[in-house]
Structure formats: structure tokens, C-alpha cells
């Protein structure tokens, strides 16, 4: 034990390791970014086409007025919860193992929120009139309607975006200062500007810790409220199978579920690409795997409660939706979704040995996210497709334009993340050091 290097000896190595992605770039990275940019361009082209010709480029039609854009909106806002949940909740509970995971997850939050906002715009029939949604004084003397859950939504997301930007920024300040001192070239001035004069004095540390301690519980509350409000978008509506009290908590848990899955993927990929095996260890995957098992069980419980209530209640409007899911038009995606988000995670994650296997956990994370995307679609489409007047029942599948936009936007998220990784240390350097110090002290 004594030949183990002390924290102080390890410091330069930590700095080197964790700043490496910011300093060295391989040709694979450029290829990757180039490929993503092409996809983003395709998505942008598709969106431009949709704006020029009309929202009819989607496959939407009455009575299915909402489709893949809203599903993606819900999905991405779910992903955005990963960061806040992991870093926020784990910070609150002082879970030591959180340290290498937080930054990576918080970055996901910001990227996902940007993408989420985009989907609102894709969805609008007249996106060039988006400013009608903004509360500001105008000559028309008109305000937006705050009774609409969509306005709550807009407000909540705006708040969440602001708060999570601050939340990711605060712990970044010491790292920016580090980067400022280590990195040369044009980026140096940017880091200097971002580091807002951090020089590591006791007073500054105290202020920062205080700030983090204050904002952490706040952001957890915001996070819960945001996804509850997204749930309210549906729960408040009169649509059969939407009008349910479980939607708010269910959406929160669902968000964490897919968010954890996403973190799992991110963690694995970054560790692999940037050789962070010293920092991201199997232990982290195992802990996350346990958490994922918890969310799987929680989500399955809620889903079961909801479906059982519908099934037992036999209200025709609701039963019609359930039938279409269980053995109707949507049975294939439904059962696929059930396997993806409940069955497969449950069957794999219960095995302690499995939880030690990062590749397996990454694959489960991927499966969960595919499943959760389908789940979002199945929450939105089948109830809309079965209005109370059965004369109007219908089906829906996203059009090509929609799919291009969806893929383009996924590419945009990956691109933003890839770019961010080149700019921001993916593991909080000072927290990592602090963790090491704590570990040694104990």
C-alpha cells in the first residue's frame, strides 16, 4: 500500500489524461464529425423542405395530430434527465462513485435540451409565427395562454435549460481555469473568459461549493417538475388513455430510465475512445446497472398498474387503445417495446456477473433507449388513433421526411456531444482529484 503514489503525485497524470481529448485529435474523429455533419445537413434540408411545402410532409392526419416529433421531444427530454438525476441525486446523497460520471451526464443534459427545443419547432404548423408563444408586450395587446399545458411546458423547459446550463457551468469553472493554464492557441482566451478569473483561492472554493450545494437540490426539483409537466401535456388532455394521473410520475421515472441507459452508452464509448479505464471502472458500470434495475422495476410497476386498471375497468374508449396495443395494429411494436425496456433489462441486470460486464451493460442501455423511443411513440399514437367516435380510427407511421429529420437530429445530438468533448473535460478533473483525496484520507 505504501508504494501507491499519493494523490499529489497522481495529479499531473490526471491532468494529462483528462485533458488529452482536448489536446489531441485523430483523423477518425474528423471522419466521425464529417459523417455526422452530412446527416445533420440532410436533416436540415428535410426541415427546410417541410417548412417550404407544409407540415403535411409528415404522415400526420386527423385525428393523429401528434406523432414522431412530439415522441422525440418527450424522448430527448427524457435523455436530458440523465445528467441531472445522476449528478444531482448522487451529489445530494454524497455517493462517491459519482465523480467520473457527472460531467459526462450533465453534458448530455445540455445537448439533449437543445435537441428537445428543436423538436418543438419541427412540430409547429407555422414555425415562422413561433414568437406568438413568447410572453412579451406587443402592439396586438395579446399574451400567450398560460392555461395551456404547452405554455407550462415551454416555461418549464426554459427554466430547466437555464438551470442546467448554470448547473453544468459551476463545476466547470475550476476545469476551465485548468484548461486556460494548460492549453495554448485561440482556445486559451475562450477558456480565460469562461474561467471568470478562477485562481483557486479558499474563498472561491467556498463560494463554488456553496453554489453547487444550493443549486443541486433546486435542479433536482426542477427536473422532476419538468418531466411531470411533459407528462401533464398528455395527462391533462381528454384523450382516452392519456387522461391519467400516473402520467407525471411515470414520465419522470421513464426519463431516468432512458437517461441512465444513455449514460451507460456514453460512458462505455468515451472510456473506450479516450482510454479512461483508470477513471471509469467496472465499479461504475455496476453501480449504474443497479440503478437501472431499480428504474426498470419501478417503471414496470407503474406500467403494470396503469394497464391493469384499464384492463379491469373495461371503459370502452380505453380498452380500444389497450386492445390495439396488446393484439391490434400496434401489437408488434408494443411487445417489442415491452421486451426492450422491461424484459431484457430485468433478465440481464439481475445477474451480478452481468453487471460486471461493461459491453453487456452498454448494449442493454442501447436496447432500453430503442425501447423507450418506441414507448414514447406508443404513448402518443394509439390513444390519438382511437378517438371516442370509432368512425375516425386510424393508423400512423412516420413519413420519410420525418425519419430524415429524426436521424438528422440524432446526428446533431451526437455531433454536439462530440464537439463538446473536444472543448470540455468529460470527467470533472477537480472532482476526480477530490475523490482521490477523499479515498486516500479514509
Amino acid at each position: 500500500m505504501t508504494d501507491r503514489p499519493t494523490v499529489w503525485e497522481e495529479m499531473p497524470k490526471i491532468n494529462r489524461d483528462l485533458l488529452a481529448p482536448l489536446q489531441t485529435t485523430t483523423w477518425i474523429y474528423f471522419l466521425w464529425v464529417g459523417a455526422l455533419s452530412c446527416l445533420v445537413a440532410a436533416g436540415a434540408g428535410a426541415w427546410t423542405f417541410q417548412i417550404q411545402t407544409g407540415i403535411g410532409q409528415t404522415d400526420l392526419h386527423h385525428p393523429i395530430f401528434w406523432g414522431s416529433y412530439i415522441a422525440s421531444f418527450v424522448f430527448w427530454i427524457g435523455v436530458s434527465h440523465s445528467g441531472t438525476f445522476i449528478s444531482g441525486v448522487l451529489r445530494l446523497t454524497n455517493a462517491e462513485w459519482r465523480r467520473p460520471v457527472t460531467r459526462l451526464a450533465e453534458l448530455m443534459t445540455v445537448v439533449a435540451l437543445i435537441v428537445t427545443a428543436l423538436f418543438v419547432f419541427y412540430h409547429l404548423g407555422r414555425v415562422w409565427r413561433f414568437y406568438y408563444l413568447i410572453p412579451y408586450p406587443n402592439q396586438r395587446e395579446l399574451w400567450p395562454n398560460f392555461r395551456s399545458p404547452l405554455m407550462w411546458d415551454a416555461t418549464a423547459i426554459f427554466t430547466y435549460a437555464t438551470a442546467s446550463t448554470i448547473y453544468i457551468y459551476l463545476p466547470l469553472i475550476p476545469d476551465f481555469a485548468l484548461a486556460r493554464d494548460r492549453i495554448h492557441g485561440w482556445r486559451k482566451s475562450v477558456y480565460r473568459w469562461l474561467a471568470i478569473g478562477w485562481h483557486g483561492s479558499q474563498a472561491q472554493w467556498r463560494t463554488l461549493e456553496m453554489a453547487i450545494r444550493i443549486i443541486t437540490p433546486l435542479i433536482v426539483m426542477v427536473m422532476i417538475s419538468v418531466h411531470s409537466i411533459v407528462g401533464f401535456d398528455f395527462g391533462m388532455a381528454l384523450v382516452p388513455a392519456w387522461h391519467s394521473t400516473i402520467f407525471a410520475p411515470y414520465f419522470v421515472v421513464g426519463a431516468v430510465h432512458s437517461g441512465l441507459g444513455m449514460v451507460m452508452i456514453g460512458l462505455y464509448v468515451l472510456r473506450k475512445v479516450y482510454h479512461l479505464h483508470n477513471y471509469v471502472r467496472t465499479e461504475h458500470f455496476e453501480k449504474l446497472g443497479k440503478l437501472l434495475l431499480v428504474t426498470t422495476l419501478l417503471l414496470a410497476y407503474m406500467y403494470f398498474a396503469e394497464q391493469l386498471t384499464v384492463w379491469y375497468g373495461k371503459v370502452p374508449d380505453h380498452i380500444a387503445v389497450q386492445h390495439s396495443l396488446l393484439y391490434g395494429a400496434y401489437a408488434v411494436p408494443f411487445w417489442f417495446m415491452v421486451s426492450c425496456i422491461y424484459v431484457i433489462p430485468l433478465l440481464t441486470l439481475v445477474w451480478p456477473r452481468f453487471r460486471q460486464w461493461p459491453v453487456g451493460l452498454m448494449i442493454v442501455g442501447l436496447i432500453i433507449n430503442i425501447g423507450m423511443y418506441i414507448e414514447r411513440m406508443l404513448i402518443i399514437v394509439p390513444p390519438l388513433a382511437h378517438p371516442r367516435l370509432s368512425f375516425q380510427w386510424d393508423e400512423y407511421f412516420p413519413s420519410l421526411i420525418e425519419l430524415v429529420i429524426l436521424v438528422g437530429t440524432l446526428a446533431l445530438a451526437l455531433l454536439l456531444y462530440s464537439l463538446a468533448v473536444k472543448f470540455v473535460p468529460v470527467i470533472s478533473i477537480w472532482e476526480e482529484k477530490l475523490g482521490k483525496k477523499h479515498a486516500q484520507e479514509h
Binding site: 407555422r126 401535456d233 367516435l389
Partner: protein, 245 residues
């Protein structure tokens, strides 16, 4: 016919409107002939969707005749149900609109202000009657079909929700005529296009605040019901049940 002088006084006050518009659909008279559908298209500049859009389920009808089959051959029965915007007093579509494009007028109409609409389509989801129709594209009329367009009704652009207005342009001109003569609108003076055309007189329109109007009488009929009464939307359209054996 109400000649009550107080009624005129009331009208001069702006706070509350003296009118509450109501439609009655007598299912025992409705033959499903769809004269109302074309009348509505002609009056309200409803777009021609064309084959492709119609196949997508995007044909726009402010009033549609829903047809329900019952039983199997040879004991088959058909029931027709004309469905238009029910102009609910507690309309589920109104509170969810983030920009107030959908709102309730003092006369009990469920209004849609087209140029305010940004197309979030929440109202469409939330309407249990699927009465709201969306313009997925800009409308198009092959020349010179557009010569027929009614100048009293806007042509809705793409990206905008629309629906039955109870022919508000006719209500407006009826009220203006009455206002210039300093009187209330008389029963039967205002007829929406569908009501006007209906051969069997299955559709009746009028002021529910006027106790002597035809709709006020018919509303009280024992055959009367509202579509999805249990939802508590309080529609301004009353259906009269079709009698059968």
C-alpha cells in the same frame, strides 16, 4: 318572436351578449344525403384536398356524416351521425391552445382565429368529437375555381387549424342587419349554410336565449341528447334521437 324592449337595451351593453347560438340535429330526419357537406364547402372556402391527401385521411370536412353499421346481413342497420364542431360551453380545445387562437366568444361560439394559430394541434387532439381539421398544406384551386371563393371567409393557409364556425359570417351580417334596425335577431333569420340546404330540415339553428325560438323548444324534446354528455363539455349542438322499432 321576442319584441321585448329590454332585449334591445341588453344588446347595447357590451359585457354579455344577448345571444347564445345553438344547433339541433334531428337524427330522425337526417337522411345522410350530404347536401350540407357541399353547402359547407361552398360557403366556407374549404379546400379541395385531392385524391392523395384524401387517401392520407386529410380531406377536410367541417361537417361530416359518420356512418355506423349495426348487425349482420340481413338484419343490418345503418345509423348516420352528422358531426360538426359542437361549440362546447366547456370546450376541451380552448384551454390547451397556447396562443388563444381557440377561445370562446360571448355568444357561446367556439372560435378559431386562423391568423393567430401557429399549428401546435393540441386542440385537435383534445377535441373528443374530432371536429377540428388541419391544413397540412397551403390550399390550391385550379383556375378559375377560385372565382367561387366566398369573400366573407378567409382562405386558410397551410399549418392552421380550422373547423365549423356555425357560419359566423352569416351570424355577423344577421346581427348587423338587426343592429341597424335596433332590434334583436329574429328566429330563423340566420341560417348556417348546412342548415339552409338540408332538404329534410334535420338541422335547425337559432338563439337558445330566446325562449320562443325553435331550438329552445326542440332542445327540451325527450329525444334530445348531447354527444358524449358524460365528458361534461356542454355542447351547443343538441341531437334528437332517431326513433326505431
Amino acid at each position: 318572436m321576442s319584441q321585448d324592449p329590454q332585449a334591445t337595451d341588453e344588446y347595447s351593453k357590451q359585457a354579455a351578449s344577448p345571444y347564445k347560438w345553438e344547433m339541433v340535429v334531428d337524427l330522425d330526419r337526417c337522411s345522410g344525403c350530404e347536401a350540407c357537406v357541399v353547402a359547407c364547402h361552398a360557403e366556407n372556402n374549404i379546400r379541395i384536398s385531392g385524391e392523395e391527401e384524401a387517401a392520407e385521411g386529410r380531406a377536410i370536412n367541417w361537417i361530416r356524416i359518420e356512418r355506423y353499421w349495426e348487425g349482420d346481413y340481413p338484419d343490418v342497420k345503418v345509423k348516420f351521425l352528422p358531426v360538426m364542431c359542437q361549440h362546447c360551453d366547456d370546450a376541451p380545445c380552448e384551454p390547451v391552445c397556447p396562443v388563444y387562437a381557440s377561445y370562446h366568444t360571448p355568444e357561446g361560439l367556439n372560435a378559431q382565429v386562423y391568423n393567430r394559430c401557429i399549428g401546435v394541434r393540441y386542440c385537435g387532439n383534445n377535441c373528443p368529437y374530432v371536429a377540428r381539421q388541419f391544413n397540412w398544406f397551403d390550399p390550391h384551386w385550379d383556375e378559375p375555381l377560385a372565382e367561387q371563393l366566398n369573400p366573407d371567409v378567409s382562405v386558410r393557409s397551410g399549418g392552421v387549424m380550422e373547423k365549423c364556425t356555425f357560419c359566423v359570417q352569416r351570424i355577423r351580417s344577421g346581427k348587423e342587419a338587426a343592429h341597424k334596425e335596433g332590434r334583436r335577431v329574429r328566429d330563423g333569420e340566420i341560417t348556417p349554410a348546412c342548415v339552409q340546404s338540408c332538404p329534410t330540415s334535420a338541422l335547425i339553428f337559432g338563439d337558445r336565449n330566446d325562449p320562443d325560438s325553435r331550438v329552445s323548444h326542440l332542445k327540451k324534446s325527450r329525444r334530445g341528447f348531447h354527444l358524449m354528455e358524460s365528458l361534461g363539455t356542454h355542447p351547443a349542438v343538441t341531437y334528437l334521437r332517431r326513433l326505431s322499432e
